[in-house]
């Protein structure tokens, strides 16, 4: 029979969706991820378009109406100089949602590069860099922040650099362990047998395979970064007035709680909590989708 020749591979043994499509599909099926993602997207929308639907100018004072409790006119009340808390909470997401993601991005880029280097070269490079990173991780973020402020002055850039550099070693640790496992695989030996450069092997061969753990670590770190930005702002090292930033507002108003003016603080605190929870839920979802 002429149809029978040597083994002829047919296309039906190429199968299944790509890995990316599968991850996306399982994200869309994950309630955890969708909930978190919705919360985060809500705040992103507020950051981008908040001033269009905020009822008042978040910076406009109105001394006569200072410290008014929540009412139909001012849903979340007003602060010491009569600014509308509701409008401030909505627009207050803007700075934190710029600074925290940029800090996380910096941490991811720096951490990934360090993780690739230490995991790929191992030996001396790994020992030296890892010791330095460990020492660095032992210093509390606040002290790093103080030192940075002395050196760089207070600005958003300082916050990004401080948080980015403090988180980089943590990401580096995750990437390093993933790279150490990849390095044992034969495709790395195959690359060496083509005389590929170290940079090619690290960035073109290994990096695409360690994206999943990097993605998980990044989303988790974003939650911490949001918290860290709020904390630094609260302590006065972070985002500076007159921004309606949440941490900054809490810092300016927490003395008022004693006087019974809880609304000047509560809504900002809830906003921070909801954003952190949203990011963490999304991170959980990503973790789940990449690990089954």
């Amino acid at each position: 029979m002429s149809a029978v020749q040597t083994t002829s591979p047919t296309p039906d043994d190429t199968r299944k969706r790509g890995p990316l499509a599968e991850v996306l599909l399982s994200l869309l099926r994950s309630g955890t991820f969708l909930t978190g993602f919705a919360i985060v997207m809500f705040w992103v929308a507020c950051a981008l378009f908040g001033e269009h639907f905020a009822p008042y100018d978040p910076l406009a004072d109105d001394i006569i109406n200072a410290l008014a409790p929540p009412s139909a006119e001012h849903w979340f009340g007003t602060d010491q100089i009569g600014r509308d808390v509701f409008s401030r909470v909505i627009v207050g997401s803007r700075d934190i949602l710029t600074v925290a993601p940029l800090a996380t991005l910096l941490a991811t880029v720096a951490g990934t590069a360090l993780g690739l280097l230490t995991g790929y070269f191992r030996g001396l490079v790994d020992d030296v860099v890892s010791r330095i990173l460990e020492a660095f991780m032992a210093i509390p973020v606040v002290i790093v922040a103080l030192l940075a402020i002395v050196a760089l002055g207070t600005s958003k850039t300082t916050v990004i650099v401080v948080i980015g550099l403090s988180f980089a070693p943590i990401i580096a640790r995750t990437v390093r362990s993933a790279v150490l496992a990849e390095r044992e695989l034969d495709y790395v030996a195959a690359a060496q047998l083509r005389h590929e450069s170290a940079a090619h092997t690290m960035f073109v061969e290994i990096l695409p395979n360690v994206i999943p753990p990097i993605l998980v670590e990044t989303t988790v770190r974003l939650g911490y970064a949001i918290f860290a930005v709020a904390t630094l702002s609260f302590m006065g090292f972070g985002i500076q007035p007159p921004s309606p930033d949440w941490g900054l507002s809490i810092s300016n108003n927490y003395g008022m709680i004693g006087g019974g003016f809880w609304w000047t603080v509560l809504f900002d605190a809830l906003a921070i909590a909801s954003l952190v929870i949203g990011v963490n839920l999304a991170a959980d979802g990503v973790h789940g989708a990449l690990n089954d």
Binding site: P9, T14, Y187, Q192
Partner: protein, 676 residues
């Protein structure tokens, strides 16, 4: 269950159908499967991967994965209807009368619990308490021939070798004296000598225990040695069944005929003809099968085969599901057997290795992984490396490639030029001249890259091509390993094992290499795919005049492809010579033992030489001849005191043994070892 009134059959499957639910649809895996296993009988189930063997095993104890369901038929274990058992009765049946051993002993053993604890737990669950538990566990380990049970019980699974782990898994399976033992590829992960040991153990236990056995394997030779009857499964249907010798010596179904032809047998060599292959693929699960399931791949198929399901013909004590069972053996070959004449081996070696050593340090001790290896390789020649796991085969290959640097002193000369020990210091021409096909394509092919990228990058780096020239060469190369354009856009995980290995071969050939190292390139593949890959390697060799260094546990495969053989033990060459001489003997006592350990299809039970015990640790090798602790032919104190030299017994054939060649010839004539 009353054991006194035993049913006639230990296991009966009646019209069993099983389906897996995938993407919302039930897809048939087993189709009206009926078979019986008598009391005390060993029944073998064979077939290509994916045909449903493990599903049968899982169904018997109703351990199907969550998406699997029994869609019809009946299962009876010792006369008891398994389908009607409630949860409690099912649990009891699993604990008391059926046991399973899987391919991967790691699956049965918990890595974080000591071996002893895992064993005693089973007895405690069985209601035994106190000191008796320990004793039972020790007795059980003795039964599976573990020499020092008390020390083994203190260890964690990873501290045992693969063979010992599998023996512990068998001990656990036997702990409650089952009446039915299901072994699912119990030796697939083990190498030939360990495999032989485990099979011996199972055979001996059969006599002691009178358990019935369902033995699943894709290795026909193993089944032929172990089982009374065999069933051949194809697409979830039984296509042939009968007594083992009868089925394997006189098959009556074209599929069985084809499977048997894929194996290199009776010392077949590449220049004596290509292996036959089975074209096409097993039908996927859930597809509608109108006529004979094998019709698309069967050269005897006609219209009747395609439209009408052949019944299981009863041929007197055996069954065949083929309309044309009486002419099954007239199945035309799928691959022509003719081979291109082998290239004349040129006199000048392409590779010369002299005095190569590699010492690792392991917990502060020196570990000689490769000791004083010297050999030559000519263009177009294949050197087969054999030896048990841990004998240094992979390390030797990695030294040649420069992936690990050798100790100072040895030399590797490629085409007349000395190679730098480290890869970084070798020239581009030198690296492209020596490439490798790894054992596991999943590890060797970067899963993030498309096949086009994988091969294209190799062409760019190794052949220095780009643009149109690269495209043209890529197309040639892809065709020469018999892939098609359709495969180029996909990622490795979308290809089957055999196709992935073709990609790896294409990549190794990208820079027109002089030498390709093949480290177990077919050990993860089915026999039909293995045959196609071996043919491909042989064809490429005769076309390109490339030399191979071929590592494999499968001695028949090594013999098929190799011109020359080096037998390694604890990093030393014990025997080196032309393939025919090494295989037909007289040979080194170690080679003799390796060869006699191989299960053979043609059940000519020759006197088996057993290698007892594990391979000694390379950190503390035995004095004198390193093989003396296991050598069945040891002549006395001299073996323990003096290391024998590797001396040339015949032109080109060297043996490292104190026994003179003529004496070996005389000794080995007494036990005629059947060739692998």
């Amino acid at each position: 269950m009353t054991k006194s009134a035993k049913a006639e059959n230990a296991l009966e499957l009646r019209d069993l159908s099983v389906a897996y639910r995938v993407a919302g649809r039930n897809r048939a895996v087993l189709r009206n499967l009926s078979l019986n296993i008598g009391q005390g009988e060993a029944y073998g189930l064979v077939g290509e991967s994916g045909c449903g063997k493990s599903t049968v095993a899982l169904t018997v104890v109703r351990y199907l994965p969550r998406n699997g369901s029994i869609t019809g038929g009946a299962i009876s274990l010792d006369g008891q209807d398994v389908m009607k058992l409630d949860a409690e009765a099912l649990r009891r049946a699993r604990a008391e009368s059926v046991s399973m051993v899987y391919q991967d002993p790691g699956k049965a053993l918990n890595p974080s619990i000591r071996v002893g604890r895992q064993l005693t737990e089973i007895f405690e669950l069985g209601g035994i308490t106190g000191k008796a538990v320990e004793d039972r566990a020790v007795a059980m380990l003795n039964r599976v021939r573990i020499s020092d049970p008390t020390s083994v019980m203190q260890r964690y699974p990873h501290q045992l070798s693969g063979g010992m782990q599998q023996r512990v898994a068998i001990a656990m399976a036997l702990a409650n004296d089952p009446s039915m033992l299901i072994l699912d590829e119990p030796t697939t992960g083990l190498d030939a000598t360990v495999e032989a040991e485990v099979l011996d153990l199972i055979a001996q236990l059969r006599q002691e225990l009178s358990a019935s056995i369902l033995f699943i394997s894709h290795n026909l030779a193993v089944v032929s040695n172990m089982c009374d009857r065999v069933g051949v499964l194809y697409a979830g249907m039984l296509v042939e069944e009968g007594p083992t010798e009868v089925v394997f010596n006189d098959p009556r179904h074209p599929y069985t005929v084809a499977l048997l032809r894929c194996l290199p047998r009776g010392g077949q060599r590449k220049d004596q003809g290509r292996l036959d292959t089975i074209p096409g693929f097993l039908p996927g699960i859930g597809v509608d099968i109108k006529g004979c399931a094998f019709a698309d791949r069967c050269a005897l198929a006609d219209d009747r085969c395609r439209s009408e399901l052949p019944p299981l013909y009863d041929l007197g004590g055996r069954l065949s599901r083929c309309f044309y069972h009486e002419k099954a053996q007239a199945l035309p070959r799928a691959t022509p057997s003719d081979v291109a004449p082998a290239p004349k081996a040129a006199a000048v070696p392409v590779l010369r290795v002299a005095g190569l050593n590699k010492t690792y340090s392991s917990h502060g001790h020196a570990l000689r992984a490769v000791k004083d290896v010297s050999l030559d390789l000519r263009p177009g020649e294949t050197l087969g490396l054999v030896g048990e796991s841990g004998s240094g085969k992979t390390t030797f290959a990695r030294l040649l490639l420069g992936l690990v640097p050798p100790d100072d002193g040895g030399t590797i000369v490629l085409e007349g030029k000395a190679l730098a020990p480290r890869l970084e210091n070798r020239s581009d021409d030198q690296i492209k001249a020596m490439q490798i096909v790894f054992q596991n394509p999943d590890s060797a092919l970067n899963r993030s890259h498309s096949i086009r990228h994988l091969i294209g990058r190799a062409l760019k780096r190794l052949a220095g091509l780009s643009g149109k020239a690269l495209e043209a060469r890529l197309n040639d190369l892809v065709r020469s390993v018999r892939l098609t354009d359709r495969h180029l856009a996909v990622k490795p995980r979308q290809l089957s094992g055999g196709l992935k290995q073709r990609v790896a071969i294409a990549r190794a050939f990208a820079g027109d290499p002089r030498i390709v190292v093949c480290d177990e390139p077919t050990s993860a593949l089915d026999v039909s795919v293995q045959a196609a890959i071996l043919n491909l390697l042989a064809d490429l060799q005769s076309k390109e005049d490339v030399s191979y260094i071929f590592i494999s546990h499968d001695l028949a495969v090594v013999r098929y492809l190799s011109d020359k053989i080096a037998v390694l033990y604890l990093g030393r060459i014990m025997e080196l010579g032309p393939s025919e001489d090494v295989f037909s003997g007289p040979h080194h006592p170690y080679t003799e033992a390796l060869l006699s350990a191989v299960p053979k299809l043609d059940q000519t039970e020759t006197a088996r030489i057993r290698l007892d015990g594990e391979i000694p640790s390379a950190t503390n090798p035995p004095s004198g001849c390193v093989f003396h602790t296991r050598c069945p032919r040891k002549i006395g104190a001299i073996c323990e005191q003096q290391e024998p030299p590797l001396s040339e017994a015949q032109p080109g054939h060297s043996i490292r043994c104190h026994i003179p060649y003529e004496e070996l010839a005389r000794l080995q004539k007494e036990v005629v070892t059947e060739p692998a």
